[in-house]
């Protein structure tokens, strides 16, 4: 029996006991957001029911400031290539030097300032930092989550490839800040996957060694973990933050051009980019089929699985080498592994599954959707960090730094302070002294990487410790402290110890955006956030209006004639029509809210009458005594 339910506008039907937190998998190709609902990790869909948000951002030329994110942006990839950013995760946190090896696999026009700052992407809306592009994607996910969870997010766990360096991690965190997301924690993708699988739980309570092989669109990660009940301890990690399905697509594209005699020397970036959309489809089709065709510029080129294997081989070999290295770093042999977990869309390829099986001698686990498993694990961790879970379900995550951190010393060499695969958090201090009499300053150059020469490693930042009190050479005691927190983010401080005058400074290693740039972006983001908030409020009222109209329509059909006089009925219908109109025309949530209220008040009497009738129906045939208690 449909009673007319009237709830206060804006009030959520379900009380929210938990903090509103989510896990976000920011991917090269696809991004996802997940949360815990009824104790189960579930990915949140958009209003069209899509779980995945393609990581594509389109900057419109015509509408000023117009930005489209996701599947609606995808169609511009071929038509407005330079203003449509894909695979931004491959660019984030990378300096100019690091973009070079990507060659014409990254198809944008870059703009770099004279002082060797971070590259910007040139678009019709000006120079845009990869951090901003990423923020657009994160903001879209945030809005999606807030609509579904009906309220503001209190925090998110955001996953990053385990092999991301400090600059890349910092850049992701900044992108989240721009998107107005409070980051509870950065979490390594393979660790998130291991959590989602719940592999720490087993009947015998034994210690188990697992390998997580994660090949997505643009990054490869291998992690070796030791699991005991409630403890996830990462032993070693390895990978390549620019290796993935994109590279396979690219290899096929090159091959297609060779096949079709369309290649005239070095292929131009535009045709490669457009072609790699087609080759990606062909590659994915070959996961099911034995052969497929690629239609390109009037030619039909057929691609077989065998050919695909050949074109995939270089990528696979690189991943296997990284795996062997990780096994070695973990001090284990491949046959000691108890289980292998596959993560990432590219691991759907039969050839890759087969190669991983051969390497480890174990049939890989794929029971949790490899596309969603990372977001689900992140949601679980967010749930836990927010205190939404009881203590006995607690888990301990012991992660590591993927790449060594150190300082520049004499001879352009890097001296390592924290070695790769060290468990974090970790604080280490090194002591240095002055080389000259009365030296008052010292340059501290922070680096990350495994190589000996500083030029072969990633420079994270350079800062000067000033105000060292004048004293003879070798007397000063300068302590440089590296602190890596649980997110894997580095903070460096330096201080002169012999005197009371201690010059303490702190560096957040440079990922390229200056404080001013970041400030301006935050202001812009604030404006955008206001707009988002407005849109969400409006959307909520629209839904409210729709529900009210729907209910009234049914109620009128059923009981309108019986309970209302014609003028009464007409009045309600008129008001309904007016709300209907308002709903589509106004963009003010407040206006819509008062229209809803008006209709509610007008129909209140009708609602009461219906209630009475149904009560009456319920009670008829019973004596009042039956309901005494």
């Amino acid at each position: 029996m449909a009673l007319l339910q009237i709830s206060e506008p804006g009030q959520s039907p379900l009380p929210q006991q938990h903090k509103r937190v989510v896990g976000i998998d920011f991917g090269t190709t696809n991004s996802l957001v997940a949360t815990i609902q009824d104790d189960v990790a579930t990915t949140i869909t958009d209003d069209r029911g899509n779980h995945f948000l393609p990581s594509v951002v389109h900057y419109h030329a015509e509408t000023e400031g117009g930005i489209t994110v996701g599947s609606d942006a995808e169609k511009f990839i071929t038509t407005d290539t330079f203003n449509t950013i894909t695979s931004v995760k491959r660019l984030i946190g990378r300096d100019e030097k690091e973009l070079k090896p990507l060659g014409n696999k990254c198809f944008y026009r870059f703009y770099t300032t004279q002082d060797g700052g971070m590259p910007y992407i040139q678009t019709c809306q000006g120079n845009i930092s990869p951090v901003q592009v990423s923020a657009e994607i994160l903001r879209t996910l945030r809005n999606r989550a807030e609509t579904t969870l009906q309220g503001e997010l209190e925090g998110a766990v955001i996953t990053v490839p385990a092999y991301f360096n400090d600059a890349q991690r910092q850049a992701i965190k900044d992108a989240a800040t721009l998107a107005g997301i409070h980051v509870l924690r950065l979490l390594n993708e393979p660790t998130a996957a291991a959590i989602a699988y719940g592999l720490d739980q087993n009947q015998q309570d034994q210690e188990r060694l697992i390998a997580v092989y994660d090949l997505g669109g643009g990054t490869f990660d291998i992690s070796i973990l030791k699991l005991t009940k409630g403890v996830f301890k990462v032993l070693a990690t390895g990978g390549d933050s620019a290796l993935g399905g994109d590279d396979i697509d690219y290899n096929i594209a090159r091959w297609v051009l060779d096949q079709s005699d369309l290649s005239t020397g070095e292929p131009d970036e535009l045709s490669l980019r457009q072609l790699s959309r087609l080759t990606r489809q062909a590659k994915e089709a070959l996961t099911e089929e034995e052969v497929t065709t690629i239609a390109y510029r009037g030619k039909q080129i057929s691609l077989t699985r065998k050919q695909l294997h050949e074109l995939t081989e270089p990528v696979v070999q690189k991943t296997l080498t990284a795996c062997r290295r990780a096994f070695r770093d973990a001090n284990i042999s491949s046959d000691q592994i108890d289980a292998v977990v596959l993560v990432g869309g590219s691991t759907k390829m039969p050839y890759i599954q087969q190669q991983v099986e051969q390497l480890t001698g174990k049939k890989p686990l794929t029971s949790v959707d490899p596309d969603k498993v990372v977001a689900m694990g992140a949601a679980q961790q967010a749930h836990l960090l927010a205190g939404n879970q009881t203590a006995d379900n607690d888990i301990l995550l012991l992660d590591i730094v993927p790449l060594s951190l150190g300082l520049e010393t004499m001879g352009e060499l890097m001296e390592k302070v924290i070695l790769r695969n060290s468990t974090i958090p970790l604080i280490k201090t090194r002591e240095f002294t002055t080389g000259k009499d009365n030296q008052t300053g010292m340059v501290i150059h922070v680096l990350q990487g495994e190589r000996e020469l500083i030029k072969d490693n990633r420079s994270l930042g350079r800062f000067v410790l000033r105000n060292i009190p004048p004293m003879p050479a070798g007397m000063a005691r300068i302590c440089v402290t590296f602190q890596v927190d649980a997110d894997g983010l580095l903070k460096v401080t330096a201080r002169e110890k012999t005197t009371n005058i201690c010059a303490d400074i702190e560096v957040k290693p440079a990922y390229g955006l200056s404080d001013d740039e970041m400030k301006q972006m935050l202001i812009d983001a604030q404006v955008r956030a206001e707009a988002d908030k407005h849109n969400r409020a409006l959307r909520e009222q629209q839904i409210e209006a729709e529900q009210l109209l729907e209910m009234l329509k049914t109620a009128l059909q059923q009981d309108g004639k019986k309970l209302l006089s014609d003028p009464q009925k007409q009045e309600i219908e008129q008001e309904m029509a007016s709300l209907q109109m308002k709903k589509t025309q106004t963009d003010s949530a407040d206006e819509l809210r008062s229209a809803i209220k008006k209709l509610q008040q007008l129909s209140e009497e009708f609602a009461m009458k219906r209630m009475n009738v149904s009560m009456h129906n319920m009670l008829s045939g019973h004596s009042v005594d039956e309901f005494k208690e």
Binding site: L184, R185, T228, G230, V231, T321, R324, R325, R328, L384, L385, A386, G387, D394, L396, L397, L398, S422, T423, I424, P425, L426, I427, K428, Q483, D485, A486
Partner: protein
């Protein structure tokens, strides 16, 4: 001293409050007997128990406590790392007895030892050109490991005696250990190149 309440300053009602004691030595921290020979299992167990209480993830909602947790959890990680390594553990034990050994800067006076080191290094350098480099390297690494084990036993004996004389004698043993570990490290790099990983 009747004021019992005053001495009981810890908030017992809030068990998640952290009060790390950074003055503990690493053995005390893990509740282990101060010794060179330790049980890896016991160490691991104690380590995980402590991290379960101290890890910053446990204090995600309390930024003040989280700062303390980062410090404490780092301290535990560093302690664990030190006790896990036979080299660092030896160095740390001497340190507890006020003998701080700087591994990087000391010169060794033992002539025979230095000759041996030079020869081993030569062998390592020439392995690439040998007939079966992988096997040769394996043999070399095995003999280095045996030397290290020998030195560990020596150190353990000296440690157990723990008088001025024996502790002083332990210093060069520690240095030799360091030399061999470094050599082993270089051998591993060589091996990585041979295996192309």
């Amino acid at each position: 001293m009747s004021d019992i309440a005053g001495s009981n300053q810890r908030k017992t009602e809030n068990e998640s409050e952290l009060y790390p004691d950074f003055s503990q030595n690493y053995f005390q921290l893990f509740g282990l007997q101060e010794a060179y020979t330790i049980s890896a299992d016991e160490l691991e167990k104690a380590y995980l128990t402590l991290q379960k209480q101290a890890h910053p993830d446990k204090f995600a909602n309390d930024s003040r406590q989280q700062l303390v947790a980062v410090q404490y959890s780092s301290f535990i990680n560093k302690a664990y790392e030190t006790l896990c390594s036979p080299l660092l553990r030896a160095q740390y034990l001497l340190d507890i007895y006020g003998i701080s050994v700087d591994l990087e800067t000391i010169t060794i006076q033992d002539h025979d030892f230095l000759m041996e080191q030079m020869e081993l290094r030569e062998t390592l350098a020439e392995i690439k050109e040998s007939k079966n480099p992988q096997q040769e390297l394996k043999n070399l690494m095995q003999s280095i490991n045996e030397k290290i084990t020998g030195l560990q036993h020596q150190f353990d004996d000296l440690w157990q005696n723990r008088n001025n004389e024996s502790l002083t004698a332990a210093i060069p043993v520690l240095h030799k250990m360091y030399f061999f570990y470094k050599l082993l490290h270089e051998a591993r790099i060589e091996e990585e190149q041979l295996l192309k990983i």
